[in-house]
């Protein structure tokens, strides 16, 4: 059925040595860009993404303004060299859909009514891709929004679960995604267990789905702590600067 059969689990370990419920290494840097109002570099294994936030700022053209709240725009974009076969620049159908679900993943926590008639632009650039870029992008964007001082109820955290060799596992890499049986990206407000993004690809039993969702929730809590820590560090740094 598949292009080729590859054994993705050997002796209870995944090909990259991870356990079933283990995240890839995460690295977060806040405030990496000068021009943007807020920015965040996010690494998830071999995924490297940057998110930048501009706004609240004037909305153009004016007839797209919302008189009652800010309009969130989200642009997920892959650098041409971020994937194995060069990607033609510009949006394709995949990035249009990812931009939509990512925006909706963040939308519930942003206090948009504070800034009527404005636009808040979130730009995510994927510099290197290894499966999981949309979740990495949402994690980065969430931090960048906070760093830009956009009032938010909470941070959003995101991770995917998948199915390989019949097992539900956390955070697929590209090989697992290509040869696995399913992928399920999730975003949530980790503290309240509120799911703000949920997609599925492949084939899951109802039980596998439920198990996967719980696994994702638990990993989102881990990511949430890393996001908070990164913001705190940045905050204390800039406080330090202020004192100096």
């Amino acid at each position: 059925m598949m292009k080729e059969e590859i054994q993705l689990i050997k002796e209870g370990k995944r090909l990259d040595g991870r356990g079933f419920e283990e995240l890839r290494p995460i690295k977060i840097e806040v405030g990496v860009l000068k021009r943007a109002d807020g920015s965040c570099y996010f690494e998830l294994g071999n995924n490297k993404v940057i998110a930048a936030v501009y706004g609240p700022r004037e909305m153009h053209p004016r007839h797209f303004q919302d008189a009652k709240m800010a309009v969130i725009k989200y642009r997920y974009n892959m650098a041409p060299f971020s994937v194995d076969d060069r990607k033609r620049p510009g949006p394709d159908r995949r990035s249009v859909e990812i931009s939509k679900v990512s925006r909706e993943a963040l939308d519930p926590v942003i206090l948009k009514e504070y800034y009527p008639k404005t636009a808040i632009d979130v730009y995510v650039e994927v510099l290197q891709s290894d499966a999981g870029t949309r979740t990495a992008g949402i994690n980065a964007a969430s931090v960048a929004l906070a760093a830009a001082g956009i009032p938010m109820k909470d941070l959003v955290s995101s991770v995917a679960v998948g199915k390989i060799d019949g097992e539900v596992v956390l955070d697929l890499n590209a090989v697992e995604d290509n040869y696995g049986e399913g992928d399920m990206p999730v975003a949530m407000v980790a503290r309240t267990n509120t799911i703000t993004m949920l997609q599925m690809d492949g084939r899951f039993s109802q039980e596998e789905f439920e198990r996967g969702l719980k696994l994702a929730a638990s990993a989102c809590r881990t990511i949430y702590e890393l996001q908070r820590t990164a913001l705190l560090e940045r905050y204390s740094e800039s406080m330090g600067e202020g004192e100096a």
Partner: protein
Amino acid sequence: MGFEIMEDIRKDYVYDLIESGKRVDGRGFREYREISVERDVITRAEGSALVKIGETVILVGVKLEPGEPFADAPNEGVIMTNAELVPMASPDFEPGPPDENSVELARVVDRGIRGSKTIELEKLCIEGGEKVWMVFIDIHVLDNDGNLVDAAALGAIASLLNAHMPTEKYGLSGDDTLPIRDTPVAVTTVEIGGNILADPNLYEETAATSKLTVISNADGTLSGMQKSGSGGLKEEEIAEMVEIGIEKAGEIRRKYLVT
């Protein structure tokens, strides 16, 4: 943007009604509007279906043409799913290239079919690495009264089930029917004020902040899911939505897809 006030009033009306246990059109919370599926309406297409769910009308056409396989699957047919939210179908749709809503609609339907491996793509190889059958699934929305995705997904599988292979047209031989091995059905629910409603009509869709489409197969497994809208959902809500999804899909499958 001039109709915001009306929209607010309408949302409140829908909301209040639901709070009192009722829906605008008198249905039960888990009840679908009337569904009709008319197949083979377009004889120019290899397969087609006109699906109505209430006043939502969608026409799906399937075309089969020989074409080049993808490099990473040289012996498999290719599925191309496209949705056109033509401006005829709603005052809110505009002419032009597909926007995020048409793209999402097409991709969700596509993933449902792909995830369940509905089409036996490996049987659609004409000449390994050179020529395979391209399966074009075109979703043409004619009237939008809400819940496009369920209608589109139903139209897609109904069209596929009846599609014939245009072997003669292209001087080829082989089977007469498109090899189909599953029947994925999409069931969409929305959350309004903590209540879960199946098959939202347009008013309900506008009033809701979260929507979940659940695509499930004949054996009860899930082969696609998509949350949309700017709200969040609790785990229990999702569990209920999935349960409704599987149950309703079974009903729809029995009634409209088993021949």
